[in-house]
């Protein structure tokens, strides 16, 4: 009861100087709202980046075949001739990698087949990926219906395929797709399974969206479509020969990722004339991201502390002005029986209330700004629950700290001097 009265009185005192009190709060308002804003918005970006990286597999090394600069140049020069650009990882390379690097538990080939996937009624631009039965385990991509590719399919080079989530939805919006036929480059393939939805991974290019793909056995792809692939049309004629577009190495120990990646690049370099392989280590990306994030947090923390510092100084200034203006009141209160500590309490209460109200306003404004920015940028804003008590608590503590000097100055004032008629 007494506490409630105390705060009501403090509030009424602040109301006596509405503009001044409001201005005093501004610093804290901006400080807290920027904390909330930055925390929630960075959290969005963070979650997105982290999950994309994690989807690549934290124990994997990803080797991508890249078209070397020299090949690219020659291709441009001889756009009409029947020259074939041949580069990248080969099946032989994979065997050598597996034999020479004991930490590599498994090697997964992925080859991009430049053909379209369609049914009689529906076309799609899904990527056709030739791979092996180990795909699901190594890429941590579960099956939703039916089954995935199995070693038998490979042995027999069967014309079967497994659809990614989005592709299945697109091609068979109404019916169950298992057992249905899809055409890949004109050839019929039987759908034997549909994968779970996985979401975008953190890589570039046609292999970055595992949901928007159809998976066929590696051996089938070789038998049906050969190693040379031709893309033509609109005056472009491109012939490439790439055996493996991407190889994913599963490594037994996270600690070996770096050395194994280096070793495999060295092996590739010794076997290829041109530099046509790039390595990505998702785990290292994650670490890099976490470091960047820590730096970001530090920068953000500094900005927030700075604005709260400015806010605190604002409160201090206003309260100093209040004390100077209310000298006579302080003297009268002392004459009416107030102790020094009651004077301290009076002014500290007012500054704390300023901080608390500023903090609340700041929380509200931060949420509002984050939501507006989130809507405009089409982000899902993720509020971190801890930010709210944190923001409020910090603003109260800042106000308490910076309110101390004015409050003690008020208490130290000689009441007799304060009461002397001017």
């Amino acid at each position: 009861m007494k506490i409630v009265k105390f705060w009501i009185e403090a509030f009424q005192n602040l109301l006596l100087h509405k503009t001044r009190s409001f201005l005093a709060m501004l610093g804290v308002v901006f400080g807290v709202s920027s904390v909330i804003c930055m925390l929630s918005i960075s959290e969005v970006a963070r979650r997105d980046v982290v999950t994309r990286i994690e989807r690549m597999g934290l124990r994997n090394i990803i080797l991508d075949s890249v078209k070397p600069q020299r090949v690219r140049k020659r291709e441009e020069e001889r756009s009409t001739s029947s020259w074939t650009a041949s580069y990248g990882i080969t099946q032989k390379d994979l065997e050598i990698l597996k034999d020479n690097l004991p930490s590599v538990e498994a090697v997964l080939p992925m080859r991009l087949i430049l053909r379209d996937v369609s049914t009689t009624f529906q076309n799609s631009d899904a990527s056709v990926v030739a791979t092996t039965s180990e795909y699901g385990e190594i890429m941590e991509h579960g099956i939703r219906e039916g089954r995935f590719l199995c070693p038998v399919d490979e042995g027999q080079a069967d014309s079967i395929c497994v659809l990614g989530h989005d592709t299945a939805r697109l091609l068979f919006p109404l019916s169950d797709s298992i057992g249905e036929i899809v055409k890949i480059g004109g050839d019929p393939f039987t759908v034997v399974g549909v994968l779970e939805q996985k979401g975008q991974t953190g890589t570039q290019g046609a292999l970055s969206n595992p949901d928007h793909a159809a998976y066929i056995p590696y051996s089938t792809a070789l038998a049906r479509f050969g190693t040379r692939q031709v893309r033509s049309g609109q005056g472009v004629w491109e012939s490439t020969e790439v055996e493996v577009n991407r190889a994913v190495l599963r490594v037994s120990d996270v600690g070996h990722l770096g050395p194994v990646a280096q070793a495999s690049l060295n092996l590739m370099e010794s076997r290829h004339r041109l530099k046509d392989v790039e390595a990505t280590i998702p785990h290292a990306l994650l670490k890099e991201h976490q470091l960047a994030e820590r730096i970001f947090m530090w920068v953000m923390g500094s900005i927030a502390s700075l604005s709260l510092l400015v806010g605190g100084i604002g409160i201090m200034n206003i309260m100093l002005a209040n004390v100077a203006e209310r000298r006579q009141e302080i003297g009268v209160r002392r004459a009416l029986g107030a102790t020094r500590s009651e004077i301290v309490k009076l002014f500290l209460g007012e500054s704390t209330l300023l901080g608390g109200l500023g903090g609340l306003l700041g929380l509200g404004m931060g949420v509002l700004i984050a939501l507006v920015v989130g809507t405009l940028a089409q982000w899902n804003v993720a509020f971190q629950p801890v930010a709210f008590p944190l923001g409020f608590g910090v603003s109260v503590v800042v106000a308490l700290l910076f309110g101390t000097l004015p409050a003690f100055r008020a208490a130290r004032l000689d009441p007799v001097l304060a009461l002397r008629a001017e």
Binding site: A335, G337, E342, L419
Partner: protein, 224 residues
């Protein structure tokens, strides 16, 4: 039964760069409960200093002060503040009302420093006191809407909220014309008749002559 106020050889020294200022020197005085006393003296003679000393707002640098037999200098600051709230009501020359607060709120200013903190009872007391000083029609007014005489009456009501036994008034009529000054003096006299001890500092000879006892200060000393 000890006297309400016993001051013995009290001095107040202000150390200053150019040498100490002695606002009071060797003042001895006894006031019985229920006395009505005026303090006169030229400007700078130590009247205000003495009044604030009587109200525990200034600690003497020498001598002893007993209030109802209790040595005041032995009390801590907090104990002095509590005793002040309970026993003493101050009235000032320039009223010192809070401009932003209305009349009732001004009278209630010291409420939270009183022991019996029932807010509703205190507000009733405040209204009764304002009625008593003839301001029942001004409860919601703010100080700048009042005349000087009315403001000083609000200040007297404020001093009375804790029902003090001792009223200390520092030139309460100094900012008032003769008529309103007389009214305030009559108010103080009435309080004295009810049994309160009243000490009033004044420049005004006529007023001083109306109190049963007058003390004259000269250079910080009581002159005969």
């Amino acid at each position: 039964m000890p006297a309400q106020i016993e001051v013995q050889g009290v001095g107040k020294e202000y150390p200053m760069p150019g040498g100490s200022v002695y606002a009071l020197s060797d003042v001895s005085l006894t006031l019985e409960a229920g006395e009505f006393v005026s303090i006169v003296g030229s400007s700078g003679s130590g009247k205000s200093t003495f009044l604030y000393l009587l109200g525990f707002m200034i600690r003497p640098t020498s001598g002893t002060y007993r209030f109802h037999g209790q040595p005041v200098q032995d009390l801590s600051d907090v104990e002095q503040a509590r005793l002040r709230g309970k026993e003493i009501g101050f009235v000032f020359q320039s009223f010192h009302l809070i401009p932003q607060l209305n009349v009732v709120k001004n009278v209630m200013l010291g409420a939270r420093y009183l022991a019996n903190g029932d807010a509703r009872a205190q507000e009733r007391t405040a209204r009764t006191l304002l009625e008593r000083v003839g301001l029942s029609h001004r409860l919601r007014h703010r100080p700048f809407e009042l005349s000087n005489g009315e403001m000083q009456r609000v200040a007297v009501a404020r001093a009375l909220l804790g029902n003090p036994s001792l009223i200390l008034a520092d030139e309460p009529t100094g900012n008032l014309d003769e008529n309103t000054g007389n009214e305030i003096f009559n108010l103080l006299a009435a309080l004295n008749r009810e049994g309160k001890t009243v000490v009033v500092v004044t420049h005004n000879r006529a007023i001083a002559e109306r109190t049963p006892r007058t003390i004259t200060l000269k250079n910080g000393r009581v002159s005969a």
